[in-house]
């Protein structure tokens, strides 16, 4: 069974309706370590040793964060800067993360429609996530398509509940074994037949 580490970064968590619902669903799940970065490191003073140990102890790493200015909140970036050391995470001797699975779970205010070449944001979410994708690659991790909760500004309660159920299912599937080769080519993990099969039941 794959052990899952959710690195959660949200500076305004208490105000986020979507994320509160999402987190509530998965934070106490078996085999999942929910790691609330802003609560643990309010002064940005990240304990690198304990972060490395957490990474060592898990097989799937999830960067769960709101999509701020087409990227992650600063503490997540700080985490990447200080934890993913040369000679540990990358470089010739940096093999600590090799063959772990890695993905982004993001929430955006804008809908999927505005994130494309015709929309107001011009680029797709996948294109904006390129730095994360390449970071994972450089560290020898297998980067999976993101799981996205989009258009949170006017999500109905029902829609939000659907997302949370889907997120829970995804975590469950990641814990077992997804057919990674198949899903690698999806735009979003939300679209994989496995998840849609389960939720439609």
């Amino acid at each position: 069974m794959n052990r899952i580490l959710i690195l959660f970064a949200h500076p305004k968590f208490e105000q986020s309706r979507a994320n509160k619902a999402l987190v509530k669903m998965i934070e106490n799940k078996e085999g999942v370590t929910f790691h609330d970065l802003y609560e643990r490191y309010p002064d940005f003073n990240i304990n690198v040793i304990s972060e490395k140990k957490l990474l060592n102890d898990h097989d799937v790493i999830i960067w769960h964060h709101p999509f701020y200015w087409y990227s992650c909140p600063p503490l997540m970036k700080q985490w990447m800067d200080v934890v993913l050391e040369f000679g540990w995470a990358y470089g010739e001797k940096g093999t600590a993360l090799r063959s772990k699975k890695c993905l982004n779970v993001i929430t955006t205010g804008g809908t999927r429609a505005v994130y494309c070449s015709e929309g107001s944001n011009n680029y797709s979410v996948n294109e904006f996530l390129r730095p994360f994708e390449q970071t994972a690659r450089l560290c020898g991790m297998e980067y999976l398509p993101p799981f996205t909760v989009m258009g949170t500004h006017n999500l109905s309660d029902q829609e939000l509940e659907d997302y949370t159920l889907k997120y829970e299912q995804l975590i469950g599937e990641l814990g077992q074994s997804l057919p990674f080769d198949e899903i690698k080519n999806c735009e979003f993990l939300n679209d994989t037949p496995q998840l849609n099969k389960i939720t439609s039941k």
Partner: protein, 628 residues
């Protein structure tokens, strides 16, 4: 006229107070001022001081003893041991070289060989008092010149013992009959065989070292506990006098004994306290000593034979300077340092008075020879500061002076200097954190028990009351970049900061304030870096309380930062104008009212008043509004 001690004191003090400031005004060393004052009040010009000048000279020599004790305090045993080669090498070369050349000179001009030997001994010694005082005054102690001079002088202090031992051997046996009744040196060991004398001397040195460590330090700790400042002064004086007495008893130079004692105490926590206690005594006694030298110049002797005296003075200075220059060359001193050494030590020193009088008592010298050499000695001493000025103003600029450069290097070496005052709970945290960065602050604290403990832990802590300028000065405030005040007594804090700000305005002051009122006072004094001890900790406490209530840490953290900033701004607004305490309270009430209003506003607006970014509710509202 000389009947009253009070009158003599008035004469000497007045002389000093008038002449020294005048000398300083013209940029001359204070030594010259004292010497001139001595000449003025002496028997040949104003006649206030008569024959007792010699007695005063003898008494005032104690100033030299104190000076060597103080110098010893600044030299730790380790560095003293490192200097041993320089002391033996430079000192030995200088003394031997000078003796040979002057012996040849004096025999050539027709003196008996015994007389010439005595005189050459006297000539080879330089004046510790004048040289070191000048070096300290010019802040050159840490230069090569300073160290070389010091080594040579120290060697002379040691060798003078040997000289005093050798002189009696030069007497004809029938003359020695009444030699031992000279009053200055009643040696306890005089009648013992040489081997026992050597043993006694060795034992007395050991005694000084042991007494320093196992008797004087515990005694000082005991005295420190009484917290009576004058008792510490008394103890400091007692230590020096005991050392000098002990040395005189076994026939060693008291100055040397005091120096040894100083070295032993250099590693104790009382170093700075002893320094600042003895400094005024030393200064006064040295001043007295220089004046006595001036007063003892016998102008009748000069008048009788001006050419001979003048010639001898010039000859002595030239030959001493020449030997010093050569020694400097052999030991590879740079040109400017060598010149300073050459002119600095080219006088006959105060030991000559002792040697010559001793030889006179043993009837090796006659009255005429004694008077002549005493005058030559006093004149060379008087000329030293003048020679120094000539060197500094006329010669050094021509050889491309590097004086400024060496001092700058010196300055850089000390440029990280931090003085930390107060090492209680607050100060110790400051000190420990600085230490974690490799910054070792010089720490001053006035709790001797704590000082003792911390020294065991390897901190450089000194005992003393930091509101005394002299203590701060001996701790090195002149070279310090930062002074951190971590003491909690409000009055002391104000006193300390005011003092330092006035006298050393370029030293950065970081000051702990007990509460708002102290902070106001400090801000109004123009201190910018004021640290209220309770502010950050109480905000941190409130933050943790909020977290236990379930609020998010990061939000609290930002709120806390804002709050502290807000509070500091309020503090500075309030401190704007100096106020009496009543006004503070009145204004504080007003401020509280204002704060209450603002806090209410905060409440109404909620947390977002502080932190507006990425506010989902606002964005949701804006996003959804046009659709409605």
């Amino acid at each position: 006229m000389s009947g009253s001690i009070l009158f003599a004191a008035i004469v000497f003090l007045t002389g000093a107070i008038i002449c020294v400031p005048i000398a300083k005004k013209f940029g001359l060393s204070s030594v010259l001022g004292y010497l001139l004052a001595g000449i003025l009040i002496g028997p040949f010009i104003m006649g206030f001081v008569g024959d007792e000048g010699q007695d005063i000279l003898h008494f005032a020599e104690f100033g030299v003893v104190m000076m060597l004790f103080l110098i010893g305090l600044e030299i730790e045993p380790k560095s003293f041991w490192q200097m041993r080669k320089t002391i033996m090498g430079m000192g030995g070369a200088q003394v031997l070289g000078t003796m040979i050349v002057s012996f040849l000179l004096f025999t050539t001009i027709g003196f008996d060989w015994k007389v010439s030997l005595i005189i050459s001994m006297a000539v080879s010694l330089s004046s510790t008092a004048i040289t070191l005082q000048t070096i300290k005054e010019n802040g050159l102690m840490n230069t090569t010149y300073g160290a070389s001079s010091f080594s040579i002088l120290l060697f002379q202090d040691i060798i003078v013992i040997l000289m005093l031992a050798v002189i009696p051997l030069l007497t004809d046996s029938e003359k020695t009959a009444n030699a031992s009744d000279h009053s200055d040196h009643t040696y306890l060991l005089e009648n013992l065989p040489l081997g026992f004398q050597a043993l006694a001397i060795f034992l007395s040195v050991v005694t000084v070292v042991l007494a320093g460590r196992y008797f004087f330090v515990p005694m000082l700790r005991l005295v420190a506990k009484t917290r009576l400042r004058e008792l510490l002064s008394a103890s400091a004086l007692l230590i020096v006098i005991v050392l000098a007495y002990l040395m005189e008893l076994v026939g060693l130079s008291p100055a040397l004994g005091a120096f040894l004692g100083g070295v032993v105490l250099a590693t104790s926590e009382f170093k700075h306290e002893l320094e600042s206690n003895l400094e005024p005594f030393k200064g006064l006694l040295l001043g007295l000593f220089f004046m006595a030298v001036g007063a003892s110049i016998n102008f009748i002797v000069i008048g009788d034979n001006p050419l001979m005296i003048g010639g001898l003075v010039v000859a002595v200075i030239v030959l001493k300077a020449l030997i010093l220059f050569l020694v400097g060359a052999v030991f590879k001193l740079k040109a400017d340092q060598r010149l300073l050494l050459t002119f600095g030590l080219a006088q006959i020193g105060e030991f000559a008075f002792v040697l010559l009088s001793f030889a006179f008592q043993l009837k090796i010298l006659d009255r005429v020879e004694l008077d002549m050499m005493l005058v030559v000695t006093a004149l060379t001493m008087t000329l030293t500061p003048i020679l120094g000025i000539i060197n500094e103003r006329l010669i050094l600029p021509r050889v491309g002076t590097k004086k400024v450069e060496t001092r700058r290097v010196d300055h850089i070496a000390k440029s990280h200097k931090v003085i930390l005052v107060g090492f209680g709970h607050f100060g110790s945290t400051v000190g420990r954190f600085l230490r974690s960065y490799g910054i070792e602050a010089t720490i001053l604290d006035n709790d001797s028990n704590r000082v003792d403990l911390l020294r065991k832990m390897g901190f450089e802590v000194y005992y003393g009351d930091a509101t005394r300028m002299d203590l701060l000065e001996s701790a090195g405030i002149a070279e310090a970049k930062i002074l951190i005040s971590a003491i909690d007594n409000s009055d002391n804090v104000i006193h300390l900061t005011k003092m330092v700000k006035e006298k050393y305005p370029y030293v950065k002051l970081l000051v702990r304030a007990k509460n708002r009122y102290d902070a106001y006072d400090l801000l109004n004094m123009g201190i910018e870096d004021v640290y209220r001890e309770s502010l950050e900790t109480s905000v941190k406490m409130a933050s943790d309380a909020l977290n236990h209530l379930g609020f998010r840490k990061y939000t609290i953290y930002r709120q806390a930062q804002k709050f502290i900033q807000y509070d500091e701004e309020g503090l500075r607004r309030l401190a704007d104008k100096p106020k009496t305490r009543e006004e503070y309270i009145f204004k504080a009430k007003e401020e509280i009212k204002q704060q209450e209003k603002q806090l209410e506003e905060d409440l109404n607006r909620g947390i977002i008043e502080f932190d507006n970014h990425w506010d989902s509710e606002q964005m949701r509202a804006a996003h959804n509004a046009p659709k409605k």
